[in-house]
């Protein structure tokens, strides 16, 4: 695409580019709209909304990371990524049974010991599926016109959804409620559910692990190098194909974990869950800055909060519209996102 590099010093008002200013004004308007309703429902309700927002945000962040890492390295939106998330939830269902985890019967240490292999196996399987997708649908088209891998990406997404649809049918699927139901008081009469704490905790652990890996390991360094300049990385002896495959592997592992967490927290799934969650997560990735890992985490959190606030104080019917509108606005007015984009320099 034709990218005209504009001089950015022109036309600034109050030190901000005019489009950022519009963004801030819209934000201000939204806040003003929402404040009376927030006050109306009280602090306890607000606390719940925030907690939900953070929990959901953690899940979106896990999925957003996969989108952002893949885009950062091959400049491709892996449309199937959201469906890998759903696949994680689907795959974990039989595994839960296999490891003896049953609703209302598993607690404490037993639960923890049971969940660990479920997580590991699910994450590994999701990772392998994603690597296979890359190998089959994207790699052969690396030099084809841009349109081609976009189309296969959508095709892959459809295949995954279709497969899960065939597997479990069109109705809602129940996910076992395994996490403790306690409420933890945090003062002022406000409580936080243990579930939320647990899943946010798990998400944080995973993101930290990712961060360590990217920044400290050799493979992580190879990923960063390939993301910045593929040709140079290749000249330095980095195996590009393996590095790209690793990126897909890790992204999917996180998404798969996200799927399990989603199931544990919300209790119901459908084969097409990944379509919506995927779009939300992609919005989060762009919002935070595509290719930018902290950006994806931040974006996830913000989109999670945004969606909960919208559900609670506007109307659930409008949440999807607002989020997709946000996606369009960000791409049009501030494609670099909040923390800036990290895409291959060419």
């Amino acid at each position: 695409m034709l990218e005209r590099i504009r001089s950015t010093t022109r036309g600034r008002i109050l030190g901000l580019a005019p489009l950022d200013l519009i963004g801030l004004l819209v934000l201000a308007a939204a806040i003003i709209f929402v404040i009376p309703r927030v006050a109306d429902r009280g602090a306890g309700y607000l606390a719940q909304v925030i907690v939900f927002g953070i929990a959901l945000g953690a899940i979106y962040a896990l999925v957003a990371l996969g989108y952002t890492m893949v885009y950062g390295i091959v400049e491709l939106i892996n449309f199937a990524h959201g469906d890998v998330f759903t696949l994680g939830a689907f795959i974990s269902l039989p595994l839960l049974g296999a490891f003896g985890l049953v609703e209302d019967k598993s607690h404490g240490i037993g639960l923890l010991l049971g969940l660990i292999p479920v997580f590991l196996i699910t994450m590994a399987l999701c990772a392998l599926v994603n690597v296979a997708i890359e190998r089959v649908a994207y790699r052969p088209l690396r030099n084809a016109p841009r349109l081609a891998p976009l189309i296969t990406a959508i095709g892959m997404s459809s295949i995954l959804e279709g497969a899960m649809f065939l597997w479990r049918g069109p109705f809602n699927i129940h996910y076992p409620d395994l996490l403790p139901a306690n409420q933890i008081p945090i003062g002022g009469g406000v409580t936080v559910s243990a579930k939320s704490v647990i899943i946010v905790g798990v998400a944080i652990v995973l993101v930290l692990a990712l961060s360590l890996f990217i920044n400290r390991s050799t493979l992580g360094k190879a990923m960063r190098a390939t993301a910045q300049d593929r040709d140079a990385a290749q000249l330095m002896g980095i195996n590009i194909n393996a590095t790209i495959a690793t990126t897909f592997f890790i992204g999917a592992a996180l998404a798969g974990a996200g799927g399990i967490i989603y199931g544990l927290y919300f209790g119901t799934l459908t084969a097409f869950l990944g379509f919506t969650v995927g779009l939300y997560a992609f919005t989060a990735a762009v919002f935070g800055g595509i290719g930018n890992i902290p950006g994806a985490a931040l974006g996830g959190l913000l989109i999670g909060m945004f969606s909960q606030f919208s559900d609670a104080y506007v109307d659930t019917a409008w949440t999807q519209v607002l989020i997709f509108a946000l996606l369009i606005l960000v791409l049009v007015f501030r494609p670099s996102g909040l923390l800036g984009m990290r895409v291959p320099e060419k």
Partner: protein, 402 residues
């Protein structure tokens, strides 16, 4: 007569010409054959073909956006919805229950064009800020738009009937200047005929006529200054700009024309079904039409049409009928136990076949892109564009490309 023969001879090797001729002949014979095969009960088949015609129109329109200009639009159903809802709102009693308190009933043919214009406007409004984005982002923006539009229609229930949609839409009226077999009149230039569900053949004829008209117009576009510019922009946007093409405008035109076609088809569809509802315009529709274009041959009008016809009949005739066919087939080869449904999930092999829809889309898109990107009926240039290996001298790295 001689000119016709000469024309036929000159085009006898041209796959596109053959395809057009074949489709025309099939279109003319279809209603008669359908009635014959079913012993006079062919109405359902004819109605099905009329619906297929709507999708063929959609495929032709999306082909302009994706095939000619190279823009991936994943929310094509949005314009379909806009056309349908616009028609429904201005040609029914819906607005009587809206803040307007006044129903309007715009005549069929005018309302079709209103639907077209509103959709074109929406296309221009969406395209203006977004068409300069790179391909992936544009795709996702259109995806988002495709999700937003039906939802907005559903939410604005004072205007649009909300979850229930709009029903009892005015049926189309077609002029009957030619008395003939479908009107039972000897010879009259008189009253207009109202097409209802009892007169599916009428719908069929109208859509065939519309398609013929649209094909001629789009063909004209392809062989014009605009068509050339589209091809150039699709091939190498930078070079096109360097040669004086206003790439944003060109893309916008493709997008708006695609949107108009979709809106027009939507308006017709609304009139035919007599009911519109936001559930009819989901992402599934967008991906169906995309699969039709990819399957048939991106950038080639008859290719897109054939993809449309083929996939429509597979999805809406073959697959739904398959459970019964498959069930009896399995029964006959002694695998009848596979037909038994299991309350815990297995719905019987027949129903499983029917649920294959999404996998079919996915497989079409992936396999075609990998192994036959030019589709079933490729355009000459496209076939070579997508399957060539890098040629030394032109394959050199391109500066300024993103």
């Amino acid at each position: 007569m001689n000119r016709l023969l000469a024309l036929a001879r000159a085009n006898s090797r041209n796959p596109n010409a053959i395809a057009y001729a074949a489709m025309l002949i099939v279109a003319l014979l279809y209603p008669e054959v359908a009635q014959f095969i079913t012993g006079g009960n062919g109405d359902a088949l004819v109605g099905l073909a009329a619906d297929a015609g709507v999708f063929v129109l959609l495929a032709i329109g999306l082909n302009v956006v994706v095939g000619f200009a190279g823009l991936l639009d994943l929310g094509y159903a949005a314009f379909f919805a806009i056309g349908a809802y616009t028609y429904a709102m201005i040609a029914s009693n819906e607005l009587a229950t809206s803040p307007l308190h006044q129903a309007i009933h715009v005549p069929f043919w005018i309302a079709l064009f209103v639907g077209l214009f509103v959709a074109a406007l929406a296309g221009a409004l969406l395209g203006a800020p977004t068409l300069r984005l790179r391909g992936d982002y544009l795709a996702i923006v259109t995806l988002g738009f495709g999700e937003i539009v039906p939802r907005v229609y559903r939410n604005l229930n004072v205007w649009t009937g909300g979850v229930f949609g709009i029903s009892a839409i005015d049926p189309p009226t077609v002029p009957r200047w030619l008395g003939g077999p479908w009107s039972g009149d000897p010879f009259g230039f008189l009253t207009d005929l109202q097409l209802t569900s009892a007169n599916l053949t009428g719908f069929y004829i109208v859509i065939v006529v519309i398609i013929i008209g649209v094909v001629i117009l789009v063909n004209n576009l392809q062989r014009s200054r605009l068509g050339r510019a589209w091809m150039a922009v699709r091939e190498d946007e930078t070079a096109a700009a360097a040669t004086g093409v206003n790439t944003v405008n060109i893309k916008l035109l493709a997008f708006a024309i695609g949107a108009s076609t979709s809106g027009f088809a939507g308006a017709f569809y609304g009139a035919k079904l007599s009911v519109v509802n936001s559930d009819q315009f989901s992402f599934t529709i967008s991906i169906t039409v995309l699969s039709m274009v990819v399957l048939g041959g991106m950038g080639n009008i008859p290719g897109a049409m054939i993809g449309g016809i083929l996939l429509y009949f597979i999805l809406y005739k073959f697959l739904p009928d398959a459970p019964n066919q498959v069930a009896s087939l399995f029964q006959s080869v002694g695998l009848g136990w596979l037909n038994n449904t299991n309350p815990n999930g297995w719905p019987g092999i027949g129903e499983e076949v029917n649920r294959l829809k999404f996998i079919i889309f996915g497989l079409i898109l992936v396999l075609i892109m990998l192994y036959r990107p030019q589709g079933l009926l490729p355009s000459r240039a496209r076939r070579q564009e997508l399957t060539h290996d890098e040629v030394a001298g032109i394959g050199a790295p391109r500066e300024l490309q993103s």
